[in-house]
Assembly symmetry: C2
Homo-oligomer: 90 residues x 2
């Protein structure tokens, strides 16, 4: 599910995702969306802040959205999980 | 540091903070700011979503800000931590 201009945050160290964002900017994108769900939300904020403050100083926050998504666990039961989308624009 | 109209998210279960937000709305506030740093950021998003979706259906998102704060650890060394502020308005 590799959408263009999107970096989906998982359980790797934040720097993996920072590098993914930087390389998408370097390949010509003007807007990158950083997405995360559940526990990874904190890491998504870290990634956006590290990119902005340390690596791509002309990137600014385009907008931040939060939402609730419904997921199904292994037993087929439904539960709610929070999600975030942080847009970086340059 | 108990600011009015602010709920600071720590390590308690999300429902503790959901109750704090609801009682501030019930005591007459029209805008509540939910603040968190580091790992608690995910919980702050959970709290905002639970309040909005389950308890205060006329509350809407007023705005979301992310930032980097400098903190000093026990040895006096400085490190950076991400923070979030989520505003709920009704």
């Amino acid at each position: 599910m590799a959408e263009e201009n999107t970096v989906l945050i998982g359980n790797k160290p934040p720097m993996s995702y920072v590098l993914a964002v930087i390389s998408q900017f370097n390949s010509g994108s003007n807007e990158i969306t950083i997405k995360a769900r559940g526990r990874a939300i904190s890491r998504a904020v870290d990634v956006a802040e590290i990119v902005r403050n340390r690596f791509v100083s002309d990137a600014r926050l385009g907008g931040i959205k939060i939402a609730t998504e419904q997921v199904h666990n292994e037993e087929g039961r439904q539960s709610n999980v929070s999600s975030i989308e942080i847009s970086l624009v340059k």
